[in-house]
C-alpha cells in the first residue's frame, strides 16, 4: 500500500505537470499532434524538447511501477483469498472483492498502454461531394452532403474554422438533418453506402470513420465535410473492462456501506 500510495501521488503530479505543459503553445501543439495521430509519429518533435522527454519518460516509468505494484497487490490478495478460503469468514468475501478489483485495475492499465500504442488515428481530411480519398485499406467517396444549419456557422475565415464544435448550439444543429452519405470500398469489392453523422461514427470491423464537421471555404458556395478514420481493435474491450471495474467498485462500496451501517 505504501508503494501504491507513493506511485499514485507521483502519477497525480505527472498529470498535473502535463496539464501545465499544455498551457505552453509549443508543447501543446506536440500534444495535439499526438492525439490526432500516434505518439510515435511525434517522436522527433518530442525529442527536440527536453522537457517533453523528461515528462514522457517519467510518465512511462511511473506507469510501469504502478502496474508492477498493482500486480504484486493482486498476487497478495489472491494468496490471502486461498489462505482464508473455506473459513466462511467476512475476510474471504473481502479478499475475493479486492482481488477482482485489482485484476480489473491491472486490465485497465494494460488496456490504456495498448490503447496508446496500438490505436492509429489519422488527421481529418476535408472533402467535397464527389471527391475520393484513401483511408487505411479503404477508399472513401463522398456521395452527398446534407447540411441544414446556419451557413455562417460553418463558413471558414482566413485561418480556417471559426467556431469550435463545442460551441455550436443544439438549437442550431440537428443530427438527423445534417449528414454525409459516403461510399466505402475495400479492395475493389462491392461499395457500401453509409450515412455518416456527428456523434455517430461508421464502423467496419475494427475501422471507424468519424464525421468531424461541415465547412464552407472562404468565398466558396459548396458545403464540404471533415472526416477522419481510425483503426481501433480495442474499443469494445476497453469499455467492457472499465464497466466491470466500475461495477466491482460499486459492489465493494455497498458491501462496506452495509457493514458500517450495521455497526452504527
Amino acid at each position: 500500500m505504501k508503494a501504491g500510495y507513493i506511485f499514485f501521488a507521483l502519477l497525480a503530479l505527472i498529470f498535473g505537470l502535463g496539464n501545465r505543459l499544455t498551457c505552453i503553445a509549443e508543447y501543446n501543439s506536440i500534444f495535439k499532434n499526438m492525439t490526432a495521430t500516434h505518439f510515435l509519429h511525434c517522436l522527433e518533435a518530442i525529442i527536440a524538447k527536453p522537457m517533453m522527454v523528461i515528462w514522457f519518460l517519467f510518465f512511462a516509468f511511473i506507469g510501469i511501477c504502478l502496474f508492477i505494484n498493482t500486480w504484486c497487490c493482486t498476487i497478495t490478495q489472491i494468496k490471502l483469498f486461498f489462505r482464508v478460503r473455506g473459513q466462511g469468514s467476512p475476510k474471504q468475501g473481502l479478499a475475493v472483492q479486492m482481488a477482482l478489483i485489482h485484476i480489473a485495475a491491472l486490465l485497465v492499465i494494460a488496456l490504456h498502454v495498448l490503447d496508446i500504442t496500438l490505436i492509429e488515428r489519422h488527421k481529418p481530411v476535408k472533402l467535397y461531394p464527389g471527391q475520393i480519398v484513401r483511408m487505411g485499406d479503404y477508399q472513401v467517396r463522398v456521395k452527398h452532403v446534407s447540411y441544414m444549419g446556419l451557413r455562417s456557422m460553418i463558413t471558414e475565415g482566413k485561418t480556417g474554422r471559426k467556431r469550435k464544435g463545442l460551441f455550436v448550439l443544439k438549437k442550431n444543429f440537428s443530427q438527423k438533418d445534417n449528414f454525409a452519405s459516403i461510399e466505402i470500398i475495400k479492395d475493389l469489392g462491392k461499395p457500401a453506402v453509409l450515412e455518416l453523422r456527428m456523434l455517430s461514427p461508421v464502423r467496419i470491423g475494427t475501422n471507424f470513420f468519424f464525421l468531424d464537421g461541415f465547412f464552407i471555404a472562404k468565398g466558396g458556395e459548396q458545403t464540404g465535410i471533415k472526416i477522419h478514420h481510425s483503426y481501433n481493435p480495442l474499443v469494445f474491450i476497453f469499455f467492457a473492462v472499465y464497466t466491470v471495474f466500475f461495477n466491482l467498485l460499486v459492489f465493494r462500496f455497498f458491501t462496506v456501506w452495509v457493514k458500517e451501517n450495521k455497526k452504527e
Binding site: 498529470f15 496539464n19 468519424f210 481501433n232 469499455f239 472499465y242 466500475f246 460499486v250 462500496f253 458500517e260
Partner: protein
C-alpha cells in the same frame, strides 16, 4: 411570475446568509431548522436555474455548485443529530463549504452550455458526475477536518472517519463512472478514448488524487491526525481544483 434568474440570485444570497448562520449554530434544534432551510433554498435555486436554462445544462458553475450543495445538505441532514450528540463540528465545516459554494454560484457565465456536442446523453452523465463527486468530496473533507481539529474519543473518531472514507470512495466511484461516460462521449464525438490534452490530464489527475486519498497507509504517518491529514490533503486539492476550474473557466 418573477424572473427565474432573479429568484436564483435571491436564493444564492439567502444561502450565503443561512450558511453563515449555520456556522455558529450550537443547538441541535436551531441547526435542524437552518439545515432544512438551506436544503430548501438550494433546491429552489437549482429549480430556478433549470427554469432559465435547460434541465440538462449541467456543465456550468451554477449546476455544479448547486448539485454539490444539495448532496452536502442531504448527507449532512442524515448525520446532523448524530453529529450534534457527539459534539462534532462537521456541520460547521460543511456550512462553511456551502457558504463558499453559494458565493461561487453568483459568478455569471458567458459561455453557453447547451451546445450540440454537450447534448449527448453520455456528455450529460459526464457533467452530472462532477457535481455529485464534488459534494461527496467536500462532505468527506468536512469529516476529516473535524477529526484533525477536534480531540475525539476513539469511537467518534472511527465513526466519522469511516463516514468520510465512504463518502470519498463513493465520490471516486461516481467520478470514475463520469470518466467512462466522458471517454465514450470522446470516442463517439472525436474518435478517441485517450487524449494527450490538458483537460484529460486534469481529469486523470483528479481521479488519481482520489486513489491517493484512498490508499493512505497508516504506517507512513506518525499519528492518527497526520494520517487524517494525509487523507484530507488530496481531497482538498480535488475540491479546490474542481471549484476553481469552474469559476475560472466561466
Amino acid at each position: 411570475m418573477p424572473d427565474p434568474m432573479t429568484v436564483y440570485v435571491c436564493c444564492a444570497w439567502l444561502n450565503i446568509l443561512f450558511g453563515s448562520i449555520a456556522l455558529f449554530q450550537k443547538k441541535i434544534a436551531g441547526a435542524m431548522v437552518i439545515w432544512t432551510l438551506l436544503g430548501l433554498f438550494w433546491a429552489v435555486q437549482m429549480a430556478s436555474f433549470f427554469m432559465a436554462a435547460e434541465i440538462t445544462s449541467l456543465s456550468g458553475v451554477a449546476p455544479t455548485f448547486g448539485i454539490a450543495s444539495l448532496v452536502i445538505c442531504l448527507w449532512q441532514g442524515r448525520t446532523l443529530k448524530q453529529d450534534y450528540k457527539s459534539v462534532l463540528i462537521r456541520p460547521h465545516f460543511n456550512s462553511f463549504f456551502l457558504t463558499l459554494l453559494a458565493c461561487g454560484s453568483l459568478v455569471i457565465e458567458d459561455s453557453p452550455h447547451d451546445s450540440f456536442m454537450m447534448g449527448y446523453i453520455f456528455a450529460k452523465l459526464f457533467f452530472l458526475s462532477r457535481p455529485l463527486s464534488l459534494g461527496l468530496t467536500l462532505f468527506a473533507l468536512g469529516g476529516a477536518a473535524t477529526s484533525i481539529f477536534l480531540k475525539m474519543d476513539e469511537n467518534a473518531d472511527g465513526m466519522i472517519l469511516a463516514q468520510s472514507k465512504n463518502a470519498a470512495f463513493l465520490a471516486a466511484i461516481i467520478f470514475l463512472g463520469g470518466e467512462i461516460c466522458g471517454c465514450y462521449w470522446g470516442f463517439m464525438g472525436w474518435g478517441t478514448t485517450w487524449r494527450w490534452s490538458g483537460n484529460f490530464y486534469f481529469s486523470a489527475m483528479l481521479f488519481v488524487l482520489f486513489m491517493v486519498s484512498l490508499h493512505v497507509p497508516r504506517s507512513l504517518f506518525p499519528s492518527v491526525k497526520a494520517w487524517n491529514l494525509g487523507f484530507s490533503i488530496p481531497l482538498a486539492v480535488i475540491a479546490l481544483a474542481m471549484t476553481l476550474s469552474k469559476v475560472m473557466n466561466s
